[in-house]
Amino acid sequence: MTYNHRARRALYFCAPEPTKTMDLQIALLLGQDGIVNGAIYALLALALVLVFAVTRVIFIPQGEFVAYGALTLAAFQAGKVPGTIWLLLGAGVLVALIDATIAVRGGGLRRLPRIALVNLVLPGIIAGLVFWLEPGKLPMLAQIILALAVVVPLGPMIYRLAFQPLAEATVLVLLIVSVAVHLALVGLGLLFFGAEGSRTTAFSEASFQLGTLTVNGQTLWVLGASAVLIVALALFFGRTLYGKALRATAINRVGARLMGISTTMAGKLSFTLAALIGAFSGILIAPITTIYYDTGFLIGLKGFVGAIIAGLVSYPLAAAGAILVGLLESFSSFWASAYKEVIVFTLIIPVLVWRSLTAHHVEEEE
């Protein structure tokens, strides 16, 4: 035995515990975990790119919709009335008051019935359904639709209250307002749902054997639903008039307005979509993980890293970036769990350096 061998053996016995090597089984499991999380980040990254492209708002409260969607559904299943219903009614009344005042001052009395219908009657009907139907006893699909009906209208209402009056402001002002909205929504979330987390029942308890890998049904639901949603968004932007209007607004606000596209409509529509994507993502992951009133922020932030990789413009790149974040997170939690977040968020730095070196920098006209 040479000196070298002996030293190595001595080292082996002195070392606290040799690092466990990764076999194929573990790599597959980690890969599966990373892709599922990545799929959710991808959905949020798409929503962030959409909102930023159309309204120039970096939508930090995106994550709150994840928590609101999941916790509203969990409240239904626990037989409680979710606090979000009061937020919906309150925001509706506020929007109706503001819009009605503007309509009356501007002499547009004919707009009043529509304002009342959208902001007062519809939330009222949704609240009525929640109170009288005992949503916990309904089939899963009906519960999900009802939870979405409670949370999604909050998107356009938030746009109306917080962002529409500032639509022409700078990106920085919009970002500051965005942070304020985020803080307000997190605080309300604590008030509505309490500090402890909740889970919802799984869409399906089935699990499949794929070689040596066990895949449970909910995982497939997350992947399938994410894929469907992404394709549906692609079709929406490519094939429908509203989708094209959003794209036009994203490319050139003034030009779009000259062509008769209302930027207010575009803003509200993009926020509706963002709220829908957020709430639905929350409902998808709530059976796999415990959701807290403030869980959304971190999930949203990881979606944001994905969106940054795409420079906040490209949808396919954002989705790919988000999946990369999911995989990186999963594998780093195996290798160095204490540094997981550091590794994930440090990813931004090389990406930013690379982007600023390669991309043509366009000065914003501010």
């Binding site: 987390g197 195996f334 977040e341």
Partner: protein, 381 residues
């Protein structure tokens, strides 16, 4: 006219001196932010405390520190300078309490912390003279766990904890005691309270095949590693810390947390304690009061830490009142001395007997091993 204004002036001075006679208790809890699940039951508990002690009116001024150290220090200064409090109870978590030690000592005002770490009252020095605490030290709980492990023939343990002060504190205490007791720690993993997946950490733990896993987290987030362990087919014993002792943990954990062992304050299983246990009566007393106000099953061990702080005060204030008037420097010093002189006080979490070097004053009567059986906490012999 003159007489009238004189009368008014007299009245107002009387009112001022009356206000000064009140005892002002400044309370700082983490009712929002990451520690909200601990801070909210504490906050609720202050509403149940006596409003008059030793014939004096007691005002509780409750502020929130949002689980944030800077806010905790800011609000402590506010309580001291604006509300002229005689004593401070708070905060919920260790980092905040440690930061407040300097502020309280500087103002020569006694402070009772509701946070776990032993570092808040140890080692005793000129500043910590003013500081007391009610929750059991981490080291007491770690000892209980390692004792239980060695008694049950466990040789290898894996550790997974929060990547914050709570997890790190446990890791330091537990790894030290485990080594002394010849337990082999085969893995040490971390995760975040807000993580949506711990698959990576759990796979790593399972690849080391430990006899038991210790999860050092608090509240419902501590259920996640356990659910993942069960999902991946782990068959060994699972230990949790006293941080999970509330009913939300059972709700979220469901059938996956069956058979879990944890050390906890006696208040968690008060009804199951033998009548000979001195803590039973005082613990049940708190549970009855809390559940009368917030509904059956709503009580948690965290609120009981606040209750115990209140009991310490109620016990010390009459002694201090004999020496000085509330609102004065002398009263605060007398209150500190009286707190330090606490002897055999039966509270919800144990029996407090303080000394000049021990400002916690709890012994082994302050902990029991508990097992989760059929969704209930069951005390172990």
């Amino acid at each position: 006219m003159k007489l009238k204004s004189l009368f008014a002036a007299l009245l107002s001075t009387a009112a001022v001196s009356l206000a000064y006679a009140d005892i002002n208790v400044g309370v700082l809890v983490s009712a929002t932010g990451p520690a909200a699940s601990l801070g909210i039951p504490e906050k609720n508990t202050f509403a149940l405390m006596p409003t008059s002690i030793g014939g004096q009116k007691v005002n509780y001024i409750v502020l929130d520190d949002a689980s944030d150290t800077t806010t905790a220090v800011k609000n402590t200064r506010k309580l001291l300078s604006e509300d002229k409090v005689d004593v401070i109870i708070g905060s919920t978590i260790t980092p905040n309490s440690l930061a407040m030690v300097d502020v309280a000592a500087e103002a020569e005002t006694p402070m009772i912390s509701m946070a776990a770490s032993a570092r808040i009252v140890e080692p005793m020095d000129a500043k910590r003279r003013w500081v007391f605490k009610t929750p059991q030290n981490d080291v007491q709980m770690s000892t209980a766990i390692t004792e239980h492990m060695t008694n049950n023939n466990i040789k290898t343990v894996a550790f997974i904890g929060f990547s914050d002060a709570y997890g790190e504190g446990w890791w330091q205490e537990f790894s030290k005691i485990a080594e002394a007791r010849k337990l082999k720690v085969v893995a040490s993993e971390r995760y975040n309270r807000a993580d949506t997946s711990v698959t990576g950490q759990v796979l790593k733990i399972m690849s080391t095949n430990p006899d038991a896993v210790l999860i050092a987290g608090s509240g419902t987030p501590a259920a996640m590693p356990q659910k993942t362990l069960k999902e991946k087919g782990y068959k060994g014993k699972i230990y949790q810390t006293h941080g999970v002792a509330n009913n939300d943990f059972l709700r979220v954990g469901g059938k996956d947390v069956e058979g879990t062992f944890l050390p906890a304050g006696p208040v968690l299983v008060a009804a199951q304690l033998p009548d000979s246990n001195p803590v039973k009566k005082s613990a049940l007393d708190y549970i009855k009061k809390y559940e009368a106000a917030h509904g059956p099953g709503s009580v948690s061990t965290f609120g009981a830490h606040a209750w115990d702080a209140g009991l310490l005060l109620a016990n010390a204030i009459p002694t201090a009142l004999k020496k000085a008037k509330p609102g004065s420097k002398e009263f605060r010093a007398a209150l500190r001395d009286a707190l330090e002189g606490t002897k055999d006080l039966y509270a919800a979490h144990g029996v407090y007997s303080m000394t000049p070097t021990d400002h916690l004053g709890l012994d082994q009567r302050s902990r029991v091993m508990v097992r989760i059986e059929n969704g209930k906490w069951v005390a172990q012999k």
